[in-house]
Amino acid sequence: MSPLDTFLFTALPYVAIIVFLGGTIYRYRATRFKYSSLSSGFLEKRTLFWGSMPFHWGVMMLFLGHLIAFLFPRSVLAWNGEPVRLLVLEVAAFIFALSVLWGLAMLMIRRVGSARIRAVSSYMDVLILSLLMAQTVLGLLIAWNFRWGSSWFAASLTPYLRSIFAFQPDIAAVSAMPWLVKLHIVGAFLIVLAIPFSRLVHVLVVPLHYIWRPYQLVIWNWRKDRVRDPESGWTVTRPRNT
C-alpha cells in the first residue's frame, strides 16, 4: 500500500464524488440552459448512427453489469456457479464492450474528421471520447487477460467500492490488483470527475418522466383562482415549467 495507492484509491474517489455532486448540482442551478449534450445529429446523421447506437446501447448494458455486480455480488457469484452461465455472461459483456469501442471509434472519426462537427466541438468532447475509449480498451484487456472478471469483481472489488461509500475505505484488495485493473478503476473515477464539466451531464437529465406525463402540456400565466389567492403574490407555487 504505497502512498500512490492511497491517493488513487482513497483520495481520488472522494474528490471525484464530491466534485461530481457539487458540480452537477451547481451547474444545474446556475447554467441550466447548457445542461445537455450539444447534439450534432442535425449536422451529420449517417455516421452518427453507426457511432451513437452501438456506443449508447453497449455502454448502458456495461454500466448495468457493473452496477449489478456492485449491488448484488452474491447473485452474480451464484449465477457464475454454472460454467455455461459464466461463459454466457462474459461473452455477452465482451461483445457489448466491442460494440462500445466500435461506436467510440466512429464517434471520434466523425468528431475529428467532419468539418461541420468540428465547428460544434470543444476540446472537452475529444477528451471525453479519449477517456471513454481508453477505459473501454482497458476493460477489454482485463476481460481477456484476467478471467473471469465478473467473479473476481464481485468478490474483491465490490467490497472495496462499498467501503468507499461506507466512509471506511479499505484498499488492501485493490492495492494487490494488476496495474491494468488499477488503471481501469482510476479511469472510472476520472470519468465521474469529468461529468459536471462536460456533455456527460446529459445522462442525468434522461427524460424518463416523459413516460408518465400526459402528451399535451398547457401552462397558464394568469390563472385567476391563483392570482386572487391573497398568499399567491408572495408564496405562489413556482412556475411549473422551469
Binding site: S39, G41, F42, E44, M53, Y210, Q216, W222, P239, T242
Partner: protein
C-alpha cells in the same frame, strides 16, 4: 365544456404577392443569430413546389404529425415508446442539407484584395464551418417555379393527380402558381408538444401560443420530427430547438406580429377564437373526410350568451371575449366559411387558416373582340379597348370554377384533406363576391344572375359587401384584433419575479454560447 381562447390567424392567399417581406421582418427580429441563420420561422413558398425544408409535406419521409390507431391517434414518428427508443439516433430527423447550408460571402476580400490583374470576387463561405462552399440550395430557390423539374414536379401534393393533370400544370400556356406563406400554426393538438421528452414545449393557456422553454429543452430534437409543418427548428449552435413565438412580446404589448405588421399585400389577419378544449381529442381522431368539419365545430360562437357565460366561468377575461367577437378570423373561418386549415390530415388541428387563391384558377387569358365586350357594358361603364381579357367566363354561372386551369384536386390536397368540394365551395364564394361587386361597380350583369350567384353560395348582398370590405379595405385594427395581455394579473408571464426578488436584476442572463 372547457372553453379556452386561442389567438388564431388567417392568410388570404388571393392577396399574397410573394414578396417575402414577412420572412425578412421575422428574420431581422428573431433569427439573425448564430445557429439560427438557416431558420425561417416565417417562410413563403411557391406552390407547386417542394417548399422548405425540401418536401416537408411528405410524411413518408419525415414522419411528422399524428396518425390514427383504431379509434385513437398516435404520433407518427415520435411518441413515448418510439421517441425514447430513438433517443440515441433519430432516423427521421431532417438534417441541415434538407433545409440548406447557411452561407455568406467574403465581402472583405473585395476591399482588402491587393492590386491584381483580375477583379476580386466575394467567395461564398459556409456559416457553419467558415469554409468556402458551393451553394446548392437556398430557402426559396424554387420561387416562381424556378428550377421546376427539380422542385415543382416533386411536390408531394401532386401525388394523387393523374399524369395528364400534372403535365397540364407545367405547360407554358397553362402554367400557374400561387404563394403559400407559412408560420407556426399554433395547433390545438400540437405534435411538437406531445413529442418533447423533456416537456419543454407547452401551449400557453391564455392565448394558445406554443412556446419552447429554452432552459428545459435538452436537445432531443423530437419536436423537429413530430411537427408535420417542420416549423420547429434545431439551433445547432446552442443545442436548443426554436420555433415561431407568434411575436408574443409584441402581442403582449398590443402590437401585431412582425410578419403580419409588415405584410405588403395585407393578406394577414389575426384574432381570438374561443374553442372547446374537451373536444380536441375527438376532433383530432375524426375520420379524414370529417376532420375540417369537426375542427370548425370546436370553434365556438362568441356571441352566444351561454358560451360567454361558460368562458367567463373558465377564467377567460371579458376583454378577450370582446376580442373574439371582433375577430376577423372568426368571420372568415366560421361566419363565412371561406378559410381552411393547411393539411388537416396531419391531425394537429392547426389554427392558421387560409383562404385558397382564386386567381391562378380563373386567370386564363383568352381573345375577345373589343366590340363584343363593349356591347355588354352598361352605358355608364368605361370604354372597353382591350382585345384580350382574363377569361372569367361569366356566361355560365360557375364557368370559371368548372373550367379551372389549375387542378382543384391539387388545392384540395393542401386545404381539404383531398376533398375538392370543400375548396370549390370557397372558390365559389370568392367568385360570388366578385360578381356581386362587379354588379355594384360596373353594372354589366343581369340582376337575376347576380342574385342566383349569391344565393347559390348562401351569401346575402350585405355579407358579400362585408367580405369585400374586410378583404380589401380593412384597417389595421380590423385586421389585427389583439386581446389585452393583462400583465397586471399574470403570476409569471416572462419570468417569475419572485425568483429574482432580493437579487440583482431579473431573469435569464446566461450567454447562449456553448463550450461543453
Amino acid at each position: 365544456m372547457d372553453i379556452r381562447a386561442q389567438i388564431s390567424m388567417m392568410f388570404h392567399l388571393d392577396k399574397c404577392i410573394g414578396c417575402h417581406t414577412c420572412s425578412v421582418a421575422c428574420k431581422n427580429i428573431w433569427t439573425d443569430r448564430k445557429g439560427a441563420e438557416y431558420m425561417w420561422w416565417n417562410n413563403v413558398e411557391t406552390k407547386p413546389g417542394t417548399g422548405y425544408p425540401t418536401k416537408w409535406e411528405d410524411q413518408d419521409v419525415y414522419k411528422g404529425g399524428w396518425k390514427t390507431r383504431g379509434q385513437d391517434i398516435t404520433l407518427r414518428g415520435a411518441g413515448k415508446l418510439r421517441g425514447l427508443l430513438n433517443i440515441f439516433h433519430n432516423p427521421h430527423l431532417p438534417v441541415i442539407d434538407d433545409y440548406y447550408e447557411p452561407f455568406t460571402y467574403k465581402y472583405l476580400d473585395l476591399i482588402e484584395s491587393p492590386a491584381q490583374d483580375d477583379q476580386p470576387t466575394a467567395r461564398p463561405v459556409s456559416m457553419i464551418t467558415g469554409k468556402p462552399i458551393d451553394i446548392k440550395m437556398g430557402p426559396n430557390w424554387d420561387d416562381d417555379l424556378s428550377g421546376t423539374p427539380d422542385f415543382a414536379r416533386r411536390d408531394p401534393n401532386l401525388a394523387n393527380l393523374t399524369p395528364a393533370e400534372q403535365e397540364a400544370m407545367f405547360q407554358l400556356e397553362k402554367m400557374a402558381f400561387f404563394y403559400l406563406p407559412r408560420i407556426c400554426n399554433h395547433c390545438l393538438n400540437p405534435a411538437c408538444v406531445a413529442s418533447c421528452p423533456s416537456g419543454a414545449i407547452y401551449k400557453r393557456g391564455e392565448d394558445g401560443v406554443v412556446l419552447i422553454n429554452q432552459k428545459v429543452c435538452r436537445a432531443w430534437r423530437m419536436c423537429v420530427t413530430a411537427c408535420p409543418y417542420k416549423k420547429s427548428y434545431y439551433n445547432w449552435s446552442t443545442g436548443k430547438s426554436e420555433k415561431c413565438i407568434l411575436c408574443y412580446p409584441r402581442l403582449e404589448a398590443g402590437h401585431a406580429p412582425a410578419c403580419m405588421h409588415s405584410c405588403v399585400g395585407r393578406i394577414r389577419y389575426l384574432g381570438v377564437m374561443l374553442y372547446d378544449a374537451d373536444r380536441i381529442q375527438e376532433a383530432a381522431s375524426a375520420p379524414e373526410d370529417e376532420l375540417v368539419d369537426r375542427q370548425l365545430d370546436m370553434l365556438l360562437d362568441p356571441f352566444d350568451p351561454e358560451i360567454i357565460a361558460a368562458a367567463k366561468a373558465n377564467g377567460v377575461s371579458d376583454s378577450t371575449i370582446k376580442s373574439a367577437q371582433l375577430s376577423p378570423v372568426y368571420r372568415f373561418v366560421k361566419e363565412w366559411g371561406m378559410a381552411l386549415p393547411l393539411h388537416p390530415e396531419f391531425r394537429t388541428l392547426p389554427m392558421l387558416f387560409y383562404v385558397p387563391p382564386l386567381l391562378p384558377v380563373m386567370a386564363s387569358v383568352s381573345e375577345a373582340r373589343a366590340a363584343d365586350q363593349k356591347s355588354k357594358m352598361a352605358p355608364m361603364a368605361k370604354k372597353w379597348e382591350d382585345d384580350w381579357l382574363y377569361n372569367t367566363s361569366t356566361e355560365e354561372l360557375w364557368g370559371t370554377i368548372d373550367q379551372v386551369r389549375f387542378p382543384i384536386q391539387y388545392m384540395a390536397n393542401m386545404f381539404g384533406a383531398g376533398d375538392g368540394a370543400r375548396v370549390t365551395e370557397v372558390l365559389k364564394k370568392l367568385m360570388a363576391v366578385r360578381i356581386h361587386r362587379r354588379d355594384v361597380t360596373v353594372g354589366d350583369m343581369k340582376p337575376a344572375k347576380v342574385k342566383a350567384t349569391l344565393a347559390d353560395v348562401n351569401l346575402t348582398p350585405e355579407q358579400a359587401d362585408e367580405i369585400y370590405t374586410l378583404s380589401t379595405l380593412a384597417r389595421f385594427d380590423q385586421r389585427f384584433v389583439i386581446p389585452p395581455a393583462h400583465r397586471e394579473q399574470a403570476i409569471e408571464m416572462l419570468d417569475f419575479t419572485g425568483d429574482a426578488k432580493g437579487s440583482v436584476g431579473f431573469g435569464f442572463r446566461e450567454q447562449p454560447a456553448r463550450g461543453n
